[in-house]
C-alpha cells in the first residue's frame, strides 16, 4: 500500500463471532472493513456488530504509521434475552416434539419388527397346514400338528405383542401430531434481528470489483 502524505493506516481487530461489524469514525465515516488509511489526527470510533453493544474507542493516526486497534465487543442485553428465549424454545421443542417423535419412531419400528415376525409365523403355519392336508404318514401328521401347535402359540403371543405395541405407537403418533400442532400454535421460534445504529450514515466500501460511497438520506 502506498500511503499518501499525512496519512496513516488504521487496522481494527474486532473480536466477535458473526463476521460482520461496522465502524463509525468521528460520527461521519462508516467503515465496513477492518483497515483503512486515514489522515493524521485523533479519532473517535464506534464499533457495532449485530448482537453486541456499541463500543467507543479513541485512537491516533501518525503519518506513515500503522495503528492497531484490538476491540472486544460485549454481548447486548437484547441478544442475551434472545439466547435465553431461544434456549427455552429449543427445550420446549425437544420436550414437545423431538422426544415424542423419537418415541413414535421407536414404537413404529418395534411394531413393524413384531409384525414381520408375526407374518413369518403365519406363513409357516399355512405351509404346515398344507403339509398336514397332504401327508400320508401317521407319524408325520403328528409331527406337523405339534409344529403347528408350537407355531400357533408363538403366533398368538406375537399377535398380542403387535396389538399392544401398535396401540402404544398409535397413541404416541397421535400425541406427537397434537403436540406438534400445539407447539406451532403457541410458540413462535424466537428470531433476532437488529438494525445498525449507523444505518443513516455515509458509508463506503472497496472490494476487488470496485468501490461505493453510500449516503443515507
Amino acid at each position: 500500500m502506498v500511503y499518501g502524505q499525512n496519512k496513516g493506516l488504521a487496522i481494527f481487530y474486532v473480536d466477535q463471532d458473526n463476521g460482520y461489524y461496522e465502524i463509525l469514525i468521528n460520527d461521519t465515516l462508516l467503515l465496513k472493513k477492518h483497515k483503512d488509511s486515514l489522515p493524521t489526527g485523533s479519532y473517535k470510533a464506534k464499533i457495532w456488530s449485530s448482537g453486541y453493544d456499541v463500543k467507543e474507542i479513541k485512537f491516533d493516526i501518525q503519518t506513515n504509521e500503522t495503528t492497531l486497534n484490538a476491540i472486544t465487543l460485549v454481548r447486548s442485553n437484547d441478544y442475551k434475552r434472545y439466547e435465553s428465549d431461544y434456549k427455552i424454545y429449543r427445550m420446549k421443542f425437544h420436550k414437545e416434539f423431538t422426544l415424542p417423535i423419537t418415541l413414535s419412531l421407536a414404537g413404529s419400528l418395534t411394531t413393524a419388527g413384531i409384525m414381520l415376525k408375526t407374518y413369518g409365523l403365519q406363513k409357516s403355519i399355512r405351509t404346515n397346514i398344507e403339509k398336514y392336508h397332504a401327508s400320508f404318514s401317521i407319524s408325520e401328521v403328528e409331527e406337523i400338528k405339534a409344529d403347528i401347535n408350537d407355531l400357533s402359540q408363538r403366533y398368538n403371543r406375537n399377535r398380542v405383542a403387535y396389538y399392544i405395541s401398535g396401540g402404544i405407537t398409535t397413541v404416541l403418533v397421535a400425541g406427537t401430531i397434537y403436540s406438534g400442532f400445539r407447539l406451532r400454535k403457541h410458540n413462535d421460534e424466537p428470531f433476532f434481528k437488529e438494525t445498525s445504529p449507523f444505518e443513516d450514515r455515509i458509508s463506503y466500501s472497496i472490494s476487488p470489483f470496485g468501490g461505493q460511497l453510500i449516503f443515507k438520506l
Binding site: 408375526t118 398336514y132 392336508h133 407319524s139 403347528i148 398368538n156 399377535r159 403387535y162 396389538y163 397421535a174
Partner: protein, 141 residues
Amino acid sequence: MKLGSFVILSFFLFTSCLKKNDEINRLNTNIFDKDYSQGVWFNVLKSVKYINDFGSPIVRFEYEIPENKTPSLKGSFINVASKKANGDWVFEKLSIGTDGSYDGIIEFPAVVSNNYCFFLGIHNTDDDSVINSFEYCEEVN
C-alpha cells in the same frame, strides 16, 4: 402429520391381516390323523354272495376310499386294516386307481343270519396299531 396418519392407517390395515387362525382348530380331516373326526371315510360299492371254487358260500364286499377322503398328495397305496366282528385285524395295501381312489375287497364265509359286519381302519405300520376304524354292517341275502 402425513407420516403420522400413514403410520396409524398402516397399523389398522395390518391388524386386519393378522387374524386369529381358526383353521388350526379344524385340523381333523386327514385320515392319517389320530384325531380324525370327519366320519366314515370309505364307501361300500357292492355286496354279493357267491359260491367259490371249493363250493363254499362266500359274501363279498367291494369298497373304495374316495379320492376326496384321502390326503392331497396322493400316495401309490394306502395301508388299511380290516376285521370281521370278533376277528383279528388283517393288514392290506390298497393301490391307487386311475380316478385317485383306492379300491379294496373283504370276503366272509356266508352265515345263516345273512347279517355281516366288518371294521375298516388305517394301519399304522410303525407300531402295527389301527386308527380311525369304522364299522359297516349290511344284510346280504
